[in-house]
Amino acid sequence: MGKGTPSMAIIEAVGLRKVFRSLERGSGIWGAVGALFSRTYVDKVAVDDVSFSLEPGELVGYIGPNGAGKSTTIKMLTGILVPSGGQLRVAGIVPHAHRMANAANIGVVFGQRSQLYWDLPLRESFELLRSIYDIPRARYLENMRHFAAILDLDRFLATPVRQLSLGERMRGDFAAAMLHDPKIVFLDEPTIGLDVVAKEAIREFIGTINRDRGTTVILTTHDLADVERLSRRIILIDEGKVIYDGSLERLREEYGTHRTLVVNLAESYPEFVVAGAEVVSRELNLVRLRFNRRALTAEALIRRVTERYQITDVSIIEPDIDSIVRRIYLEGYHEGAALRQAQDDTPS
């Protein structure tokens, strides 16, 4: 890339597309038998016109429901899947055309599978990786010391991988992915199935390598707490399409418009209605009210409630990223949609 080029993107995807072709299969046993002879194919678009670009050192959350196309995108980035269309460059390399060269630049962690060698002590897997990536001995020892300290590996370095707990194995997998100082790491559901302590250790590690080593990170996850804790930018993907690419704050600003007021009533009022708020649930005397914070302040709403009802307690729940994302999946993302809705909600 020449001087003065505005973009120095380390990852660049333009109109990326992946179509899987599979045999059409009827239902039941005859469908299964028929499929042996059938030549009818069905195309499934897994990734559809996905474009994004990442600067070196960025940490991006790549978020989507099951089957949204997250893993397919990651596989194309690692060069083990050939895109059906579009352009892709990872550190200047077209991944599938130069799989080996690309592999030297990247590190990958899958929460659902391990790249460690099952029957061997953890330390031997690291030795093997040293040889595969041709890591200079001094650098290898330094990284091992560093990772062992952060991830607390020393206790189980001599244990065969098959005997490790999931948390220990994941810590081993993270060290394995980072051993050759990759410029970019792809993390596919890295905290899945981990307990709170292990999750925190992993998040801490991801934060550290991103901050201290300037490693570019793409993190796909279901657990939005990972994203809230780690990244400022998220890319939302659904049905193979990018539906949002931007900061977490903006999303919260636009979509986190509704707060919930939880009211404990002093008496069991048979009818409970408050202007400007919607009753979401009611269990005996506990009522949840959803209201738009742009249309109504919490103070005003509490006043409206206390004018008509006796209450014993009240609290406010702020919108979390989980509910925001769930809402976008259901309704789709529309810029400014939240603002329009604020006007509708204003009581006349």
Binding site: R21, G79, V108, R113, D134
Partner: protein, 270 residues
């Protein structure tokens, strides 16, 4: 932009083989049972052949001592020949872990070859104690250096033929994921037509024709018939040539299968 292909280094593959040996050594119980199982079979087959030869006229080519030598050497060869060295390929396709192999800067089929070779080398070491113990049970004929030398060359070719057949079978998993049934059929055919249990030369003539026309004979039958002297030195070149021919054909098939399978993984996502 021109991207330099990373230079090929042998070191990782040597490491793969070493780690595979270390892995096999961790299953110590397996080591003892496989030696014990060979010894039991040596004893049983000796009983069977002694009983059969006592009631029938011995074939002129294979007197009793020769057939006992044949079946004992066959069982010792089985210690390495009966290993499915590339089962790792099938396992990793089945679990999807093959994806992590393609994400590393390695030539993936070489990895499977190195891993399988390590496994086989470890088991080859077991031949020595098994042989020494077998000598307490049976007498084995020891031919001259020319025969022994040719036998080892033929054994090695037979091993490579077996490797290719196994690799091809495990490649079937690229399409079907499950290969148990296919493997079972091939095992039966190999047992029958490979010459591991019954020498092909005592088959009825029409079965012999079929057996000698198949690649399985190149695995056990050729080296064993060289060892017991049924194949004489003037036919060595032809016998080894036929083995090498089968090896070439099967290596081409294996390469084509691998290419098509790997393409399927990277285009279809497995």
């Amino acid at each position: 932009m021109i991207i330099a292909k990373p230079r090929f280094r042998l070191e990782p593959y040597v490491q793969f083989a070493q780690k595979a040996m270390a892995r096999e050594a961790t299953y110590r119980f397996d080591v003892f049972t496989s030696i014990a199982s060979v010894l039991v079979r040596v004893y049983l087959l000796r009983m069977v052949w002694v009983a059969l030869y006592a009631r029938n006229a011995a074939p002129s080519e294979l007197p009793l001592h020769a057939i006992i030598t044949y079946s004992t050497v066959a069982l010792l060869m089985g210690l390495v020949m009966d290993i499915d060295q590339t089962r790792a390929l099938h396992d990793r396709l089945h679990t999807g872990d093959i994806a992590t192999d393609f994400m590393k800067p390695i030539v993936v089929p070489f990895y499977f070859f190195a891993d399988g070779s390590g496994e086989v080398l470890f088991h080859a070491v077991l031949i020595v104690p098994s042989l020494l113990l077998a000598l307490f049970i049976v007498h084995i004929d020891v031919p001259g250096p020319l025969v022994i030398g040719t036998f080892f060359v033929s054994f090695f070719l037979g091993y490579l033929v077996g490797f290719c057949i196994n690799f091809i079978l495990n490649c079937v998993a690229f399409w079907t994921l499950e290969i148990h049934a296919v493997q079972l059929i091939v095992t039966w055919v190999t047992d029958l037509f490979g010459g591991e249990i019954i020498p092909l030369v005592i088959f009825p003539v029409f079965l012999q024709r079929i057996a000698f026309a198949l690649p399985f004979a190149a695995m056990f039958s050729t080296p064993l018939l060289i060892y017991v002297g049924v194949i004489r030195p003037e036919r060595y070149a032809a016998a080894l040539g036929l083995q090498a021919g089968w090896l070439a054909v099967l290596a081409v098939v294996a390469t084509l299968m691998w290419r098509a399978g790997a393409k399927r993984v990277i285009v279809q996502g497995g």
